[in-house]
């Protein structure tokens, strides 16, 4: 009797895990297909799953030939890295400082600032696309890196996240540091931020991924291929050279890899970030 029940249980578990693995593999399939296909000889992209031999042809094409016809992908990758790193560093630093002002400095505007930050987060970003373009244009910044970087240098969401996290740090820590003669910036970056490492990780990851994957805004403000981030350059290349599937897939791999690496390294914080966003 018991052995029979155990058998039923084991079969159930086996079926359950088989189904789960099968579905997980289906979910991973697009990634695997992309990765394998970017190393295939071009005539095998649709015909085989595992390539007959691995070749770097698509990658050499996209890094050398494409730039000769006006699509500098290596530069596009560097552009993306430059923009994403600048914005991420700026958002983390400014959000920490302003979050500190909201949470720990008693001044006449502190609750107004907090309310304003929340109010800003209510508006969907797409409402500002057209007017922001007009503003950037009136500053004469169209087709510059500044157009992609300036509007994202500070973030209401980042300020909100840091201020929430700083509120839970006891004031004694700050007083103790002040008695030891620490100045303000030392307090923020050597006392407060290390105590809120999780928040810092979450703000960095989501800002980096958001700006790396930002597509519509740079598409609107940048005309020159030299200044385009990778996502936009890839999209523009795809429009004109759609039949060069191999190089396009290689470009997609390069576009995807930094996001996946960041996700894999910081997955603990990523999960935290998801659960924080619905608390």
């Amino acid at each position: 009797m018991t052995s029979r029940r155990k058998l039923v249980q084991n079969t159930r578990a086996a079926v359950f895990y088989t189904i789960m693995f099968a579905i997980s593999l289906i979910w991973l399939y697009p990634y695997v297909w992309l990765f394998l296909s970017s190393f295939k000889p071009w005539d095998e992209i649709y015909t085989t799953f595992i390539p007959s031999h691995f070749t770097l042809k698509s990658y050499t094409y996209i890094s050398t030939v494409a730039s000769q016809v006006g699509y500098p992908f290596v530069r596009g990758l560097l552009n993306s890295i430059f923009i994403a790193v600048t914005v991420t560093v700026s958002v983390v630093v400014t959000s920490a400082i302003i979050g500190y002002a909201v949470a720990k400095v008693k001044f006449s505007g502190s609750s107004a600032l907090f309310n304003f930050v929340i109010y800003q987060m209510l508006f969907p970003g797409f409402m500002f696309t057209v007017p922001l373009y007009v503003v950037i244009r009136s500053f004469g910044l169209l087709n510059t890196y500044a157009a992609m970087i300036l509007p994202s240098l500070m973030s209401a969401w980042g300020v909100f996240m840091f201020s929430q996290s700083f509120k839970s740090v006891p004031n004694d820590y700050i007083e103790a540091a002040k008695i030891d003669g620490a100045n303000f910036f030392w307090v923020v970056f050597n006392v407060m931020v290390p105590l809120s490492r999780g928040t810092m990780a979450i703000v960095s990851i989501f800002t980096f991924i958001g700006i790396w994957d930002n597509f519509m805004w740079p598409l609107i403000v940048i005309q020159s291929h030299q200044k385009m981030p990778l996502a936009v350059l890839l999209a523009v290349f795809n429009k004109t050279y759609g039949s060069y599937v191999g190089p396009i897939l290689a470009g997609s791999v390069i576009q995807t890899i930094p996001m996946v690496i960041i996700f894999v390294i910081f997955r603990k914080y990523f999960l935290q970030g998801i659960s924080m966003s619905f608390k």
């Binding site: 400095v105 696309t129 503003v135």
Partner: protein
């Protein structure tokens, strides 16, 4: 003594304004100033070059008379009708599977979440290839079931295919939201139901689903926000076609403002789209949000 306390307060006050000063300036330039422009544009006729003409609510009237507005409203509605039931049911099932899995949890979570960090441009390219007429998806279907599906080339399928892609991307994320909701349900409720002889099926409908209410509302709000913000997928894959069946609010805002040089019309349309999504979220909360008490 009293004096020094007061001056300390003064110092704090100055410090607070100095620290938050850059943010106020930043928000004035990149939030308040564009906000003023948004309102001015919405009430104007302009082509970026000739002098701007204030036309008050002409743009609003023009939008409601424009068949394209009704097309994109219908397309967005269709997208939500495909996407929300699909992603809601699948991610609840997935969350229940997650909570049952005793082994390989990390692997399962990773496989589904990896989709969520895919780049919009890259995953549009992947799905264009996978769902192309001779692509792997159709090869599989043809070899095993003898059918072809015109994923992106038929007006009746294209939006559904986009809904499938977006489901692929967000199912794992939403499932984790539901998983947190499931873990908050007290186990005693199920034990009590078991004793009363309730089947698993009844338990699901009478305990699990009602107690997941706040997670369901949360996912619905995320899904509605997402539906009004779709741009990359139709831009990359269908260009809004076939027969405008995948035109979305953002596609039309982009086209009107930057290809047809009608920023006034586009600004008004973006206000309407934001208003519609906001209204729909409030309606959803009114209709399905319940105060749930765990006792």
């Amino acid at each position: 003594m009293k004096n020094s306390v007061r001056s300390l307060g003064k110092v704090e006050n100055i410090k607070g304004w100095l620290l938050s000063g850059p943010y106020w300036i930043f928000a004035a330039i990149f939030f308040a100033y564009p906000f003023v422009w948004l309102v001015m544009l919405a009430l104007s006729k302009w082509n970026f070059i000739s002098p701007r003409k204030t036309v008050w609510l002409d743009n609003l009237v023009k939008i409601f008379q424009d068949p394209m507005f009704w097309t994109i409203t219908w397309n967005t509605t269709r997208f939500m009708l495909y996407f929300i039931p699909m992603v809601l049911s699948l991610s609840i099932i997935l969350a229940m599977a997650f909570s049952k899995a005793k082994h390989f949890q990390a692997f399962f979570a990773m496989s589904f979440l990896l989709a969520n960090v895919s780049s919009g441009v890259a995953y549009s390219i992947i799905f264009t290839q996978l769902f192309s007429v001779n692509g792997p998806a159709n090869n599989f279907l043809y070899n095993h079931f003898g059918v072809f599906i015109p994923w992106f080339s038929s007006p009746s399928w294209a939006m559904f295919s986009i809904a499938i892609m977006v489901t692929w991307k967000f199912m794992g994320y939403y499932a984790l939201i539901f998983l947190a909701g499931l873990q908050a349900i007290p186990k005693e409720l199920y034990e009590a139901a078991e004793i009363d002889g309730a089947t698993k099926w009844t338990q699901f409908w009478k305990i699990t689903l009602p107690l997941l209410n706040s997670s369901i509302v949360m996912v619905m709000v995320l899904a509605i926000t997402l539906a009004f913000g779709i741009f990359t997928e139709p831009y990359m894959i269908t260009g809004g076609g076939p027969l405008n069946s995948t035109q979305t609010f953002l596609m039309v805002i982009y086209t009107d403002a930057f290809l047809k040089y009608q920023p006034g019309y586009a600004a008004m349309l973006s206000i309407i789209a934001a208003g519609m999504s906001f209204g729909l979220i409030i309606l959803t909360r009114k209709l399905i949000e319940r105060k749930v008490e765990f006792s």
